[in-house]
């Protein structure tokens, strides 16, 4: 009993052994990994080819006001996306920015959205 209490006290003071996945530790993919991608509204010509050809239907054309004008741009649902990068390879204007980030852990699936209006914590590169 005494032993048990001692162990309990010890464990209370100790730091957790598990890693807080997604907060403190992340998988470390190489630079060539197909990660989160997002459209660049400056380059997009609203042709909606990516939305038509997306194998999982993860891309939806959404109307936004950008630079004072109304414009339709693709918004990606990362919960459905399989990261095949078909949209990036077929884009006639190379309008997507890519990164090697894995999707972050979130509490709501609606937060997994590739909307260029929302600020994104990850860094992207142009294709």
């Amino acid at each position: 009993m005494l032993k048990l209490a001692r162990e309990l006290l010890k464990n209370l003071l100790r730091r957790p052994v598990t890693i807080e996945y997604g907060v403190k530790a992340k998988p470390n993919p190489t630079k060539r990994y197909r990660g989160l991608h997002i459209v660049n509204p400056d380059k997009c010509i609203s042709c909606s080819l990516c939305a038509v050809e997306c194998p999982t239907g993860a891309i939806k054309m959404t109307e936004i006001t950008y630079g004072g004008k109304k414009k339709k741009i693709p918004v990606i649902d990362y919960g459905l996306c399989v990261f095949c990068y078909h949209c990036i390879d077929i884009c006639p204007r190379k309008a997507y920015n890519i990164s090697n980030e894995i999707p972050p852990p979130v509490f709501k699936r609606a937060l997994l959205r590739g909307d260029p209006r929302e600020p994104k914590p990850w860094r992207t590169e142009e294709v």
Binding site: P29, T30, R32, Y33, R34, E53, P55, V82, F83, C84, Y85, H86, D89, I90
Partner: protein
């Protein structure tokens, strides 16, 4: 002594995949085995008929996780035959490199899983650690560790540069040493030999009679390999040997795969050394429609011969995509391999065929007399055949 039926599976009998073996035993001795499948049916061919040509490519990629690039390449080759697309040399070479990397990691996975089933967990850990290096190479070449999405009609989608070539060369030097060591372990370890040697023997004529393919057939001495028989991609440019063994037991099936991994390393080295320069795709973007007609394409997947039969009637969707996977023949037609085995050998024999359950869950029956077509569960057909 009465005969008892023991279900092995469907929750992960040997590999972590759903398949049920109904094993009838008299005491410890196996009298008969029924294979029951159908736990992983997803209707891939039905989906293929209802999606566009390019969406079907991503569905075909997801038939099987371990040999996904083989499925994609096989489907894409059929499409290229339909539209008569000539590929640039560099695209063919890159495809060959990526496919051999996939074969390499698949064969190492089997060697690892086999060690785990035999209770040799440290060997499992060691092989999986080294396999991770190949997964990294695959990520560098294709963009993902597992689901590569690398090929499309007309060529490949990503190029490699000198930095990646150097990395591949360095990693292959290390992997070659390790595979030689693991082959040595499998050949000389007494306990492994006791569990594997003379168990689940398939003779040469049996392998021919039941139409076994791939390393399973090659371990029984059958010289069958699509890469040699009808070279596709860049296999006619590279020099490699077809590995065969005569024993036909579980040990031979593991050793054939390990030796084939060495041949894969040889192929990748040659392809990298004489990697031609030029474009990586014949077209900038793949075509969206394909000419009417039909095409059959064959690829040597890690488990054996993989066949795609694509029928086109023009238009935006394929009329029919028939997939014939190697696991289908290898698992269902090898019931006789379990004779004279003991109960503890059953998972070992099953694992030695390197089953890929998700590959084999499709069938359509055509009644020749009436021309009637119907879908039937595989278990019914297996029962009829006996």
């Amino acid at each position: 002594m009465p005969v008892i039926e023991i279900p092995v599976g469907p929750q992960h009998p040997a590999l972590h995949e759903p398949i049920l073996l109904r094993v009838r035993v008299r005491g410890e001795e196996v009298v008969g085995v029924d294979i029951v499948t159908g736990y992983n049916h997803r209707g891939i061919e039905w989906l293929a008929e209802r999606n566009t040509w390019l969406k079907t490519l991503y569905i075909a990629t997801r038939v099987c996780g371990i040999c996904n690039l083989m499925h994609a390449t096989c489907y894409v080759q059929a499409l290229e035959k339909l539209n008569n697309i000539k590929l640039p040399e560099r695209a063919l070479a890159l495809r060959t490199i990526a496919m051999e990397l996939e074969r390499l990691h698949s064969h190492m996975l089997l060697a690892a899983v086999m060690a785990e089933i035999l209770g040799f967990e440290s060997l499992f850990m060691l092989i999986m650690r080294d396999r991770e290096k190949i997964m990294l190479l695959k990520e560098l070449v294709t963009g993902n560790r597992v689901l590569s999405d690398y090929v499309w009609p007309g060529g490949v989608r990503r190029d490699i540069d000198d930095g990646i070539v150097e990395k591949i060369k360095r990693a292959l030097d290390y992997i070659e040493k390790r595979i030689l060591y693991y082959r040595d372990v499998y050949e000389n370890d007494k306990l492994l030999r006791l569990r594997l040697e003379d168990i689940g023997v398939i003779k040469y004529n049996e392998a021919l009679l039941y139409g076994l393919v791939g390393p399973t057939a090659r371990a029984s001495g059958v010289r069958i390999d699509v890469r040699k028989d009808t070279p596709y991609a860049w296999y006619d440019e590279v020099d490699f040997n077809m590995v065969t063994r005569k024993e036909g037991d579980c040990l031979a099936r593991v050793l054939v795969r390990l030796e084939e991994s060495l041949e894969s390393i040889k192929i990748i080295r040659q392809a990298i050394n004489k990697l031609p320069k030029g474009p990586i795709a014949a077209l900038r973007i793949p075509p969206r429609t394909f000419r009417p007609g039909e095409a059959i394409s064959r690829v040597e997947a890690p488990r054996g011969e993989l066949i795609y039969h694509v029928v086109s009637r023009g238009g935006r969707t394929p009329y029919r995509v028939r997939i014939r996977t190697p696991s289908f023949t290898n698992i269902l037609n090898s019931v006789f391999a379990y004779r004279d085995a003991t109960l503890s050998d059953v998972p070992v024999i099953l694992a030695s065929f390197d089953p890929c359950i998700s590959c084999m869950e499709r069938i359509m029956v055509v009644d020749e007399r009436t021309g009637e077509q119907r879908l039937e569960p595989i278990r019914k057909i297996v029962r009829k055949r006996r």
